[in-house]
């Protein structure tokens, strides 16, 4: 059984899907004029239509309330680059950085497996340290590379549920360094192992759109309240909201 199969990751899963492109950020409602129309996605593969649903998010509401009056803040979005989410924050004056950590994690695992196969194929002693700690260190050396105290807010979404526990722990530690004092993290945790794989985008100040997507990574674990508190022990305030859909939204204020 391959390394990726052990982790339950199917290589070659359809990546992303297209849907109608939203209004351009910064276009102020102007209609598109001239030039090529961006909506004509012509790809070799086209994923099936994504299922979308909306959920009221008290966590998001509280997150925005905490950022109110910040002026030109800086936000790190660790989910996919959705136009709606970026527009939402940019129109509110934020400078947004985007990094899809789960996609990076999947790519990293594929790369690691390739390296491992290559090393074992040579039949020589390979010095690739495959312990979870070493893997976590390698992953974080290549990702989340920003200066300390460079963000006022982080959208962490539910990605901790999908990362190896050691990577999740180290990543939270790194994020704490990236946040300015008083900075806010918005995270979500599943109360039970999720059946599907979902991504989230911001629709309005109180609503998130839940997008069912092809599985990038399987859920690794379900965090209990005590474990979440331990992960974010360096934060001074923790607020949680439990939804009917078994999703806990949490705010952590540094």
């Amino acid at each position: 059984m391959s390394f990726l199969n052990k982790l339950g990751i199917g290589v070659g899963a359809a990546a992303g899907a297209r849907s109608e492109i939203p209004r351009a950020i910064g276009s102020s409602g102007r209609t598109r004029t001239g030039g090529p129309a961006p909506v004509a996605a012509v790809g070799a593969t086209r994923a099936p239509e994504l299922r979308e649903s909306s959920r009221v998010s008290n966590g998001l509401k509280e997150f925005l309330w905490n950022l109110d009056g910040l002026g030109r803040g800086t936000l790190l979005d660790l989910g996919p680059a959705w136009q709606t989410t970026l527009s939402f924050f940019i129109e509110r004056g934020f400078r947004v950085s985007s990094e899809d950590i789960l996609r990076a994690w999947k790519d990293f695992l594929v790369e690691e497996e390739g390296k491992l196969r290559e090393a074992t194929g040579r039949a020589a002693q390979h010095n690739l340290d495959v312990t979870p700690a070493a893997r976590a260190a390698r992953f974080l050396e290549a990702n989340l590379q920003y200066p300390n105290s460079s963000f006022d807010a982080v959208l962490l979404w539910d990605l901790l549920d999908y990362l190896e526990p050691l990577v999740a722990k180290q990543m939270v530690a790194n994020l704490t360094e990236l946040l300015r004092p008083g900075g806010v993290v918005f995270a979500m945790f599943h109360s039970k192992k999720p059946e599907g794989f979902q991504r989230y985008r911001v629709v309005d100040p109180t609503t998130l759109q839940v997008v069912s997507s092809p599985v990038l990574c399987p859920a690794q674990r379900v965090y209990q309240n005590r474990e979440i508190q331990d992960l974010f022990s360096r934060y001074r305030t923790v607020k949680s909201f439990v939804g009917r859909d078994q999703l806990r939204e949490s705010l952590f204020i540094k």
Binding site: A24, Q83, L86, D100
Partner: protein
């Protein structure tokens, strides 16, 4: 279904600049009729097609389609740059408009507009007036949107000058070309 003809022509929409089906040359100016010296089509543009690798700086004021590899710097002051689905660009990009359907590793400044299509993958900061991201596009970097910048007379004059000099071909001014 819609856009079927696009798939036939290497998945390129007809209205995208620099469809390599029309201009397979490495870096080519619009084809001209030998007898008159006039361009056959004012819409055709330069193209760096698949399998071509350029290291160095590419500058110009025309539209450019990149479906090969470019490493260095891409500067199209008044042109539109399209990175095709097979394109891999490791360069900072400066252009009026940038469309990404392939891979870009570097900062992108699209003065008027940047479009990331579903197959687009960008690792670098984006700076533009308008940004369009299709679902499925991958972005790793910072987004800076500049809106409502007043155009001063100096800028207008420069734009006008760039417009009159639009016949200049895209050129590789430094570096090496390998196929």
């Amino acid at each position: 279904m819609w856009k079927k003809e696009d798939v036939k022509s290497q998945g390129l929409p007809e209205n995208l600049p620099g469809n390599p089906a029309n201009s397979p040359a490495l870096v080519s100016s619009p084809p001209r009729e030998a007898s008159t010296g006039l361009p056959v089509s004012s819409k055709s543009s330069a193209c760096i097609s698949q399998g071509i690798r350029i290291k160095g700086e590419v500058t110009g004021s025309e539209d450019l389609f990149v479906d090969g590899h470019v490493e260095g710097k891409l500067n199209l002051s008044n042109g539109s740059l399209t990175v095709g689905p097979n394109g891999e660009v490791k360069a900072d990009i400066f252009a009026r408009e940038v469309i990404v359907r392939g891979r870009v590793d570097g900062k992108i400044v699209g003065r008027e507009k940047i479009q990331l299509w579903s197959t687009g993958n960008v690792a670098g900061d984006l700076q533009t007036e308008r940004l369009m991201i299709e679902d499925g596009a991958v972005l790793r970097g910072r987004v800076e949107i500049e809106t409502g910048k007043p155009i001063d007379k100096h800028t207008e004059a420069r734009s006008a000058a760039a417009g009159t000099a639009k016949s200049g071909a895209v050129s590789v001014i430094t570096g090496s070309v390998a196929n």
